[in-house]
């Protein structure tokens, strides 16, 4: 019973962390689909989401307003970033966009550090009650918020891509640029939109994880790598893949650090990740041709 409840607790924690990774992976995937590039700035938007939420909370002392406003602000930052550094590229290619995103990440990180400070910041959990005890296990209510909000966001994204005209246009452009251009979808616009969605997803992740982990300017790279790994694990470019990959990575870390060694937590996660990718290169849900492009 003891080990059973420990496992259950790890399961919930793993799903919580996994949700965060899934959001970041989703942002990563959306930009990958529209540009073919790795977006290194993705993790910085997570940090920005958390830190701006903290700043706004300090001013308005309303977590809901602070987080919603922060996420919207970061989304604007995403759009602005695309307009300022991706759009001016005369002959964009995958490698160049990837490199530019590294520059963007460095610039964003130092900007965050200078404006929002170097100290880790945080704010209370969304609910008054911090923990719940259900069936012998203790769960942080914030973890439930994380899981719930992630789920809600994913449902919205699903309908956005499947039903809305803009979502369909994005998918069309990702599937076949030339064909999309012929039917009037502007590729530049879809790139901007993908940055907006990616920044939104990243900022949301940052806003909801901060009560648990605090937020500081130097966490961006770590978030970015985890999101990238989750995306690869699930299958680059796939929306359900981001979810599966994120959850798998979250659970892998939770159980790996508890049962094997927390010292080697990252090494274990990456080693398993590489093994999975060597066996199933396209990720859990990716189609082989997505990877082979």
């Amino acid at each position: 019973m003891q080990t059973g409840s420990a496992a259950l607790q790890l399961l919930v924690a793993g799903i919580g962390t996994g949700s965060i990774y899934a959001l970041i992976a989703l942002g990563f995937n959306v930009v990958f689909k529209s540009t073919g590039a790795m977006n290194f700035a993705q993790g910085e938007w997570v940090v920005m989401g958390g830190m701006i939420s903290a700043l706004l909370f300090a001013s308005f002392s309303n977590i809901g307003i602070a987080c919603v406003a922060a996420v919207l602000i970061v989304m604007m930052v995403g759009i602005l970033s695309e307009r300022l550094v991706i759009w001016p590229l005369r002959r964009p290619n995958t490698l160049l966009i990837t490199l530019v995103s590294i520059g963007l990440a460095i610039f964003t990180r130092s900007l965050v550090m200078m404006i929002l400070g170097k100290k880790p910041v945080g704010y209370p959990a969304f609910s008054q009650t911090a923990t719940l005890t259900v069936g012998g296990i203790t769960i942080q209510t914030q973890t439930l918020w994380i899981i719930g909000l992630t789920l809600a966001f994913l449902v919205i994204m699903h309908f956005f891509f499947e039903r809305s005209i803009i979502g369909k246009a994005l998918r069309a452009a990702a599937a076949d640029r030339d064909a999309a251009a012929i039917v009037g979808v502007k590729v530049e616009t879809t790139v901007m939109l993908s940055f907006a969605i990616a920044a939104f997803a990243g900022a949301l992740a940052g806003a909801i994880i901060t009560p648990l982990t605090l937020s500081s300017y130097d966490q961006g790279a770590m978030f970015g790598f985890k999101g990238f790994s989750a995306a690869m694990l699930g299958g680059v470019g796939s929306l359900p893949g981001a979810v599966i990959g994120g959850l798998a990575l979250g659970l892998l870390e939770a159980f790996g650090s508890f049962y094997i060694s927390s010292d080697f937590k990252d090494a274990i996660a990456f080693a398993v990740l590489l093994l999975i990718l060597f066996v199933r290169p396209s990720g859990f849900l990716g189609r082989a041709d997505v990877v082979k492009v």
Partner: protein, 337 residues
Amino acid sequence: MSVMPLKTTSPALRSPAAAAPAQRLSDHARLLIVWLVLLAVPFVSPNSYVVSLANLMLINVILIASLNLLMGYGGQISLGHAAFYGLGAYVSGVLGVKLGWSPWIGLPVAALVTGLSALIIGIPALRLRGLYLSMATLGWNAILVVMFNRLIDLTGGPNGLLGVKPFAFGTFALDTDARQFPLVWLVSLLVMVAILHLLRSRIGRALRAVATNELGADAVGINSFRTKLLFFVLTAGMAGIAGSLYVHINQYASPETFSVSSSILLVVMVALGGSGTYWGPIVGALIYTAVPQLLLDYEDAELMLFGLGMLLVLILSPSGLTGVPGALIKRFSGRAS
């Protein structure tokens, strides 16, 4: 009757084989001139600190030029070049500290071990295109950093590997910056020559062909996978050599030098110098050596300026800083005509 054009070439272009070696000689000559100029550094340096920076810069040349060969010419983005650098450093360093092996043996062993590890990663990772190699190398780097930190008995952990012996000829130890300089100078020159030779050969052309157009390369009979793997292994081996030099010259190594962030910065340096240009890595190495010295004390604004500068270079001159003069000339001559 056939209307096929018959030999109507201008005399100047009739003998490509004669034209090509002329070009080859000139690059060799230029390389030699640059390195001869560098040879003056220990003599004109005001203090040994400048010489130590020159040593580090030449090691960085090996590191960035080898990554440029893989990335700039081969189109393969490795996010783990610092891992191979670190593996070379720790293999050579640990062999010396724990088993008392001479650095002269440690260096080739480091190159072999890093090359071998690249082979093991490359075989599964290079079978597929896209971000696959980037992911595998990123993971490999993350794993190695954990190992450097946690295998404390072997590596000294976060405190670093201490007690590494310098290179030595008998009792004459290369333990001062000025004594180390000729060795680093020579090895970096050899690596630059090796890269030039590889590029000016059939397999170098095959690598560029694969990077430019893999379908076309397959069609003419190039085995793209083996070509990429060969260069992945070769460039990892070069990083291993750089690592061995680094550890025996500093007589110390610590994990953070070889982090994933370092790998990404190396990619940045390749791009800033000029991805896929022969001389770009020297510019990249200069920046890579100078920037941390500048940023050490004033981290705040400089880091932002660095990011901004990087963005400007990439947006205005995607071929890097070495492409700037060309771009300017083009702009001005365009205006003149």
